[in-house]
Amino acid sequence: MSKATPILSLKNVSKVFAGYRALNDVSLEVYPGKVLCLLGDNGAGKSTLIKVLSGFHEPTSGTLEVNGVTAVFKSPKDASNVGIATVHQFGGTFPLMSIGRSFFVGAEPTKGRGIFKRFDKKYANETAVREMQQLGITRVTDGDRLIGGLSGGERQASAIARAVHFGANVLILDEPTAALGVKEAAHVLRIIMQARNKGVAVILVTHNVSHALTVGDHFAVLIRGEKADDFAKGERTREQITDLMAGGEAMAELERELSTLTGTINQIN
């Protein structure tokens, strides 16, 4: 790993909800121009971690650092102010808004002055379409079209384009490929690499090991709120990662149980 300052780092972060420990003593570092893959099964604490990073939750203990300086996110706005942008599974979150309008939600361009100050729809539509085309979504030419009419990959692209346009330097992608077909997923992975090459630090949250291995520079595996492993590209095989994510003992128990019903696990394979 490089010795550069991480753009964002977590130090011994824990998050407790009403007695339930969703995150326990997690430390992570994210570098510009690198992709950190956050792996874990359902309920491993990935969502909580994202919410801590994007300012929805404050950690119960531990600290966040931005460029080596301790930061406290009181709200999502604080996180986005330092350039952290989060894109959710379904990408464009406003399915019934037009591409142009949703692209600029919360940062609307205006023209005119005083009481004539108004939303600049032409600029919004043109910019949104241009940014998406730069990410290879050439099918979209009309900024008036509704987000909901786009394919899953196009919606991811519009959300990523939006984040990049507004100067995000940390991009958190929450299961961007989970709902996509093979081809669309590949396209989204390509867009992730484009963002990475622009120097953006990407946190890719997924439970798809293949996708992670394709684009990841660094990996962290979460199990029941704890960081179970942390390694750089090439340090683990796909099988090692899959076994780890599946969760050791629990899996062995399940296999034993299954074998009483169906014979040994080898027979199933």
Partner: protein
């Protein structure tokens, strides 16, 4: 309104993909239906005034309610707000004899304040607006009744507006057309501007689409929602003022029918009950559809017992049609644009 520069989309294909297309069909269909069934009296100026007058008052309430609904909330309190504001005006200017304009300002203030209270409670407690405004509907109606009886000792208060305010709020032009129609036009222009031209409008759509994401982008969600509830309270109060000036008095039981009629007009107009989608043209058309059905039946000479049945069926058809057209809008229909 669309000053689109991109290569696009004139003609029928894009027209049917507009959200208000279903509402337009509905309005035209009921008009033609009643024009045939009601004949000349329905189409005469007096007949048009019938449904325009009803539509105007409903529309003044429905347009701000539509904004509330596009932002994903609901306002059921408009019925009681109307009663409270018209009572405020009648008591201040009728019973206590203050100048009419004092009563009008107080009435509009009462409506706006109730709206702000709704918005404040909804955003502070995170309870569904349905529950909060239902509670306000009851509470305000009780408060109005209680205070009115306490102050006046009756539930009906009469008031005579001074000539200027009577002309502005409560006259019939040509003996037929209520001035409320012009107030409705004004409200329609204002609401359209807010929704499409101001950045505030973009926030309304965003909050209705996904309130969490909207908050994450830095939109002052709570303030926007409170402002929208205030607008809806103001709209209801304005109708209270118009009716009080028109009918020279107020009754505590007034306005309750606007609670559901405004939601019907908004939904028939293509606004999504769950928020995030809708248009002012659609709401205007939905309001007209409601008013034409509401009044048209009396020109047919049929037994008016069936009016509510027709209204119910119409509502169902309208919502189904709107769903179809919304699906069309989402499908985008871009076979022609395949490039890669």
């Amino acid at each position: 309104m669309s000053t689109q520069v991109k290569k696009q989309s004139v003609g029928f294909g894009s027209l049917i993909r507009r959200p208000e297309f279903g509402a337009l069909i509905g309005a035209l269909a009921v008009y033609i239906f009643f024009a045939i069934a009601g004949g000349a009296p329905f189409m005469a100026p007096g007949g048009s005034a019938s449904w325009l007058n009803v539509a105007a008052e409903l529309g003044i309430i429905a347009l701000p309610v539509a904004l509330v609904m596009i932002a994903g909330d609901l306002d059921l309190s408009v019925g009681s707000v109307l009663a409270a504001s018209s009572m405020t005006l009648a008591i201040l200017s009728g019973f206590y004899g203050l100048p009419t304009w004092v009563g009008i300002i107080a009435a509009l203030l009462v409506g706006t304040l109730i709206g702000i209270a709704n918005g404040y409670i909804v955003t502070k407690t995170n309870l569904p607006a349905f529950v909060v405004t239902l509670a306000t509907l009851f509470a305000v109606s009780g408060l109005t009744l209680g205070l009115t009886r306490l102050l006046v000792g009756s539930t009906a208060v009469s008031m005579t507006a001074d000539p200027t305010t009577k002309a502005l709020f409560g006259t019939l032009l040509d003996g037929k057309f209520s001035v409320a129609i012009f107030w409705w036009l004004g409200v329609a222009v204002l609401v359209s501007w807010i929704l499409y031209k101001s950045i505030f409008g973009n926030w309304i759509f965003a909050i209705g689409g996904d309130v969490i994401s909207a908050r994450a982008t830095g939109i002052p969600v709570a303030k926007v929602r409170i402002a929208l509830f205030a607008a809806s309270g103001f709209g209801a109060a304005l109708v209270g003022v118009l009716q009080t000036c028109m009918y020279n008095g107020a009754q505590v039981a007034n306005g309750q029918s606007f609670v559901f009629n405004s939601i019907i007009a908004v939904v028939v107009g293509g606004v999504l009950l769950t928020g995030g989608y809708g248009s002012t043209i659609g709401v205007i058309l939905g309001t007209l559809t409601f008013a034409i059905v509401n009044q048209g039946i009396y020109y047919t000479g049929w037994n008016a017992d069936w009016a509510a049945l027709i209204l119910g069926i119409l509502l169902l058809i309208a919502v189904l049609t709107n769903n179809t057209f919304r699906r069309l809008a989402l499908s985008g229909g871009n076979k022609k644009e395949k490039k890669n």
